[in-house]
Point group: C2
Chain length 201, copies 2
DNA sequence: ACGCTAACCGAATGTTCGGTCGGGAGACAA
DNA sequence: TTGTCTCCCGACCGAACATTCGGTTAGCGT
């Protein structure tokens, strides 16, 4: 076995840098709408060279959505204060999810567009459902302890919450000027405090 | 020219009923991921018969997204009380948009997944931008009159608002039990009153 | 200078794609 | 019965698709 820095051969792309470009193109044209020829053109490589790095188009998709899911679950498992209320924990998960989404934007974007056409996509949907399920549990506990209004179904609250978070992929661009922290603060503030400063139903 | 009821020939599908099935399949597999053969199978027709009703795959997409956009703009133009505040009008537009989204769910779903790969898709994106622009204007006026908290950029508020509305396509199914009115009420309540019943930042 | 190997390429593979074509079958008017 | 119209089909086409293969190139260690 040799280290990455001292190996032989001609160094250009490795799996990660290739994946980065591939995911960008997939997000522009859609996974199904992207051909390997278009991908090769954007990489400055020939079509056949791609197969030296990965087994095929589907593996690229698998690597991308896997990375997104790993990051999202890491944010979910990360619990700063075990004695905190479920409500505080929920707010932390939402806030953290915005940061993860921003940090891994292209990968999460691709993940959220998966429709389940292949085995890889089916498995991705499975892991997404697991994520949603654990968030819904957290919302239920937050509602039980009175931290979240109980005039609506916790499952509905959960869906609205992460519907808003996930919708960020449609417009947010980290390089566009708005800092991630500002976005996460605004989103959690609007969702948890309400659009109007005060007022009751 | 003859009327629809007294025409000759063998009646089975017409453009609308064919479109309905096509949009369903497009939403399941994705537009690019759906072949005309798969479409024909689901219609109980041969591939070539589809071309008797429409000029091709792209026209089906155009008809679908056109229908979605027409419905959304109709909801936007519909102003019940011209003397109402911008805030009240905004809340009405959000509420109405949820209803439109539910009523035209498959068509709006397809619209929101368009990426701009063809002329038809580019035009759809253009009309979507026009819609977003007019909503953003409304939010700005609502913020100016003090009906919406002004510690965040109105454009951001606008994106969060319709991000949440649009995210409904990911899970809401009208036949699943929850009435549209209940969903629209819950969404506007959570977004305009806030997740917590009271409390200030 | 030489050998080794990762990285790459051009050309060709079989398959699937959206779309075309000539004709058949049923329904109505005459 | 005959003509005409709508609706539909099987067979087919060129192009684009993902993938494969035999062989070449460029950089590193020796």
């Amino acid at each position: 076995m040799q280290s990455r820095a001292t190996r032989q051969g001609r160094p250009t792309y490795d799996r990660d840098s290739l994946l980065e470009v591939a995911v960008t193109v997939f997000n522009e044209r859609g996974y199904d709408g992207t051909g390997m020829e278009e991908l090769a053109k954007r990489l400055g490589l020939s079509k056949s060279s791609i197969y030296h790095h990965v087994s095929g188009k589907e593996e690229l998709l698998g690597l991308a959505v896997g990375r997104a899911l790993d990051a999202l679950f890491a944010g979910l498992d990360e619990v700063p204060d075990p004695s905190a209320t479920a409500t505080a924990r929920l707010e932390h998960v939402v806030h953290r999810s915005v940061e993860v989404l921003a940090a891994e934007l292209p990968y999460v974007t691709l993940l959220l567009r998966v429709r389940g056409n292949s085995d890889v996509e089916q498995q991705a949907l499975e892991r997404r459902r697991e994520f949603d399920h654990r968030v819904a549990e957290l919302v239920t506990r937050a509602a039980a302890e009175g931290g979240v209004r109980d005039d609506f179904d916790p499952h509905l609250i959960s869906r609205l919450l992460f519907g808003t978070v996930n919708s960020l992929i449609e417009w947010y661009r980290p390089e566009g000027g708005m800092p991630v922290a500002a976005l996460a603060d605004a989103l959690t503030a609007v969702l948890f405090d309400g659009l109007r400063g005060r007022s009751a139903s």
